[in-house]
């Protein structure tokens, strides 16, 4: 059960992050829009953007799977082990989002891979 939850969390997190990154780069939010008075408008705007709604759906799956994981595992296990998504997302950021992933960033991602292998 523990590792099934980890797999669900990682898979849904990867999909959610790719969708968010793709959509948020199409319509950049300005710092001024983060003021408390403008948050409701920002939320309304986000709710009308399909990829973000889909991303939130995947995040909800990840959220409930994380709740389940916390009920059967320690916090200090649950949080680091889900870092496995970092490596997968870095590869997809290069292939799908066309980001310039330099050697230093690959090194950072590999450190993310090492974490669940060591602590899991």
């Amino acid at each position: 059960m523990k590792w099934l939850m980890v797999a669900i969390i990682v898979g849904s997190t990867v999909l959610a992050d790719l969708l968010q990154s793709f959509e948020m780069k199409r319509h950049v939010v300005a710092a001024e829009d983060l003021r408390p008075g403008r948050l409701a408008g920002m939320l309304r705007g986000m709710a009308q953007r399909g990829p973000l709604v889909l991303a939130v759906f995947f995040m909800a799956i990840s959220f409930f799977a994380f709740m389940k994981l916390l009920s059967v595992a320690d916090l200090s296990f649950a949080v680091p082990v889900t870092a496995a998504s970092v490596a997968l997302e870095t590869v997809l950021a290069r292939l799908v989002l066309r980001e310039n992933v330099t050697a230093l960033r690959w090194a950072g991602a590999l450190c993310g891979v090492a974490t669940p292998l060591i602590s899991g």
Binding site: D17, L18, Q20, S21, M24, K25, H27, V28, V29, A30, A31, D33, L34, R38, L39, G41, M42, L43, R44, G45, M46, R49, L52, M59, F63, F64, F66, M67, K68, L70, S71, D74, L75, S76, F77, V79, P80, A83, S85, V86, E89, T90, A93, R94, L97, R98, E99, N100, V101, L104, R105, A107, G108, A109, C111, G112, A114, T115, I118, S119
Partner: protein
């Protein structure tokens, strides 16, 4: 208003070069980390203090969400979601992921201090790797694909 805004013109590179990460991005990154760590902590606290067998029933999850600590955790994680979405518009995904992973370290510390969890040397070694990853990625530009946020 974010929705419907046309994509801004690419910002010219400053004299300090493309590797400069502005204060706004750093502050938002710190906010994202704090809301994530505190949200996870509150959630974990709530889960550990509820004698509820979750099973697979969605109603058990919904009941649990409205308990005080889980509600606090959920609220913080909603703030985390919104601020992280904004950050993903300002910086690359491959930059945001390792930079915000300092949250894993802080969660391990909170787990040990407040829950008395057994944090083995392997887990501490894992946190060292995360910090190393943050240092590597911190040396790169935050944004390699698109424009700065509209001002």
């Amino acid at each position: 208003m974010a929705a419907g805004r046309a994509i801004a013109e690419p910002a010219p590179l400053t004299s300090s070069g493309p590797k400069r990460v502005d204060l706004k991005t750093k502050l938002l990154t710190a906010f994202v980390v704090c809301t994530n760590v505190l949200g996870n902590f509150a959630m974990s606290w709530g889960m550990k203090h509820q004698a509820v067998d979750l099973g697979l029933s969605p109603f058990a999850y919904i009941r649990l969400i409205f308990t005080p600590w889980v509600l606090l955790g959920t609220s913080l994680l909603i703030l985390w979601l919104l601020s992280r979405m904004t950050l993903l518009g300002w910086a690359d995904l491959s930059y945001v992921l390792p930079m915000t992973s300092i949250g894993y370290v802080l969660s391990a510390v909170l787990g040990k201090v407040f829950f008395g969890e057994q944090v083995t040397w392997q887990r501490w070694l894992g946190t060292v790797f995360i910090v190393a990853g943050i240092i590597f990625v911190g040396l790169t530009s935050a944004n390699t694909t698109r424009q700065e946020p509209a001002r």
